[in-house]
Amino acid sequence: MIRVQNIKKSFGDVIAVSDVSFTAPDGQITGLLGPNGAGKSTTMRVLYTAIKPEAGQALIDNIDVATQPLQARARLGALPHGAGLYQQLTARENIAYFAAMHGLRGQQAKDRVDEMIDLLEIGDFADRRTKGFSQGQKTKVALARALVHGPQNVILDEPTNGLDVMATRSLRKIIRKLRDQGKCVLFSSHVMQEVAALCDDIVIIAGGAVSMTGSTEDIKQNTGSDDLEDAFVRAITPAGEMLR
């Protein structure tokens, strides 16, 4: 379970996140939805402890990421923006490297890597160097790498960016599988349809703060709009501006 309480983060004069709070429970896919620059990535970076919030608290399975970053990260599988594979290593070596860094050794590590290769259906190119992989292939390998230690919590920062329809579909299938295993999945996107198709719960972020939370139906109701896109636009537009 991931819980974020009133976190705030600025870079110089720019306030990236002013007040974000939400809870992503186990066995659910929680969507972090917002336009570009809304603060999605900053929130996720706080969760995987790449940056420290100025105020507020982020908890992963009730572990404070600020005070116990290593323990928090051990319970987390994160897929930051972009795959970021090591191009001179094969897909399998990339996954095995992360397995070793999570403390998996010997046969256990091998088995886990094989399991991931099966889960993500990347057996065909597992032993090729990742240089020249398609975006879809890269994302799958990166996801395998992030999941190799079987984390309870999974954070995916815009994983469908640059993927074609088929790759997006197979990624959704995997994410649903994770949910059905009882994992807590936090998924960010700037595409409303994407989030609506996949997520049980949606957190809409705009201008560094949460503007609306709920299921797809809740959001439609709250904004008084039947169309998803309209609902999203209304949710991220401050009330004053709507009247103009």
């Binding site: 995987y48 402890t49 940056i51 795959a83 290593l89 490297y97 860094m101 999570h102 160097r129 992030a146």
Partner: protein, 392 residues
Amino acid sequence: MSHLSTVFFKEIRDNFRDRRTMLSALVFGPLFGPVMFAVLISMTLKQATDSKTQPLELAVIGADYAPSLLHYLESEDTEIEPIELTTDEAVEAVKDGTYELVLSIDEAFGEQWTEARSARVSIVMDNSDSSISRKGRRARGMISGYSRQIGAMRLLARGVDPSVMRPITIDEIDTSTPSGRAALILGMLSYFLLFAMLAGGMYLAIDTTAGERERGSLEPLLTLPVKRSTLLIGKLLATCLFMSVSLALALIAFAVVLQFMPLQQLGMSVDFGPKQVITAFVVTVPFALIGAALLTVVASFTKTFKEAQSYMNITMLLPTLPIIVAAVNNLRPSLTWMTVPSMSQHLLILDLVKGEPLQPLFVAVSIGSSLIIGTILTLIAIHLYKREGLLG
């Protein structure tokens, strides 16, 4: 500890497969110095042997006036070419390069000679050209030798001991050994060794920060439950290993090159066998830590691989500064200088190639101070690696 070795071995494998890194670490870095050396020494050698073994070509104005002098010069391996020019014309001919060296014998030479007065000749040459200047000195040396010889005979003919002409006799006692002279050229050896090391570690150091960030692999790496200091130290150790391999290869290449260079012909003797190679390695390798940490610190301030690369080129010149200071001031190893990295390695290697024994205390201080400074730089690199700005 296991995380550290995981990072270390992954970096080795990753970079081992990268052609650019491997070329820089195993080919360009280690071979640059030895190849420069071979070229430089063979050029020096060619010049030295040329001027000794080839006959001196000498254009002579007024050859008829001094047959005995010219006969003497010919016996000393000079090729005389009599020419018909005035002295002014000869100056022009030397200026435009028609002749390198013109000996002008005055019309009055014969008369002065027979009357045992001081006879006059002039040598026309361009002293700014070092190879012509050398030939000029050779001609001058031969003529004054002949002049002394005749002068002594004239004194003897008058019943005077020729040694009255030499109230003072100067004896030079040259303490430089043949390998001491070699040290002049070999003074560059230390820089080439440091250069080889830095070239060997450059790409790994860039990859640690700017490279990983640019490829987008840094952020996933930081999501792992591993301390950032562990990541950095693992990468730094891999960089040190590549640098050490580059150093070893450079030393072996030098040993091979020096084996095939006919240095004895230059009056040099260099004993650079396996023992010296190993000693030089032990003396120089602690610099790897300084180099690796320094390159990593510099690279962590840059945003992209290309930007990092341009800063690296400047950084690779840094070790020359202490070496230049040492060379210009002709410094000798001392406890103070042993605390200065790059200078201490330079001074110790210089003594090593001169065949002088190394003082264990100096070696220990050099190694110790390099490791201490390297550790400080490593701590700075770790501090920079922990910044949030690292992600760019």
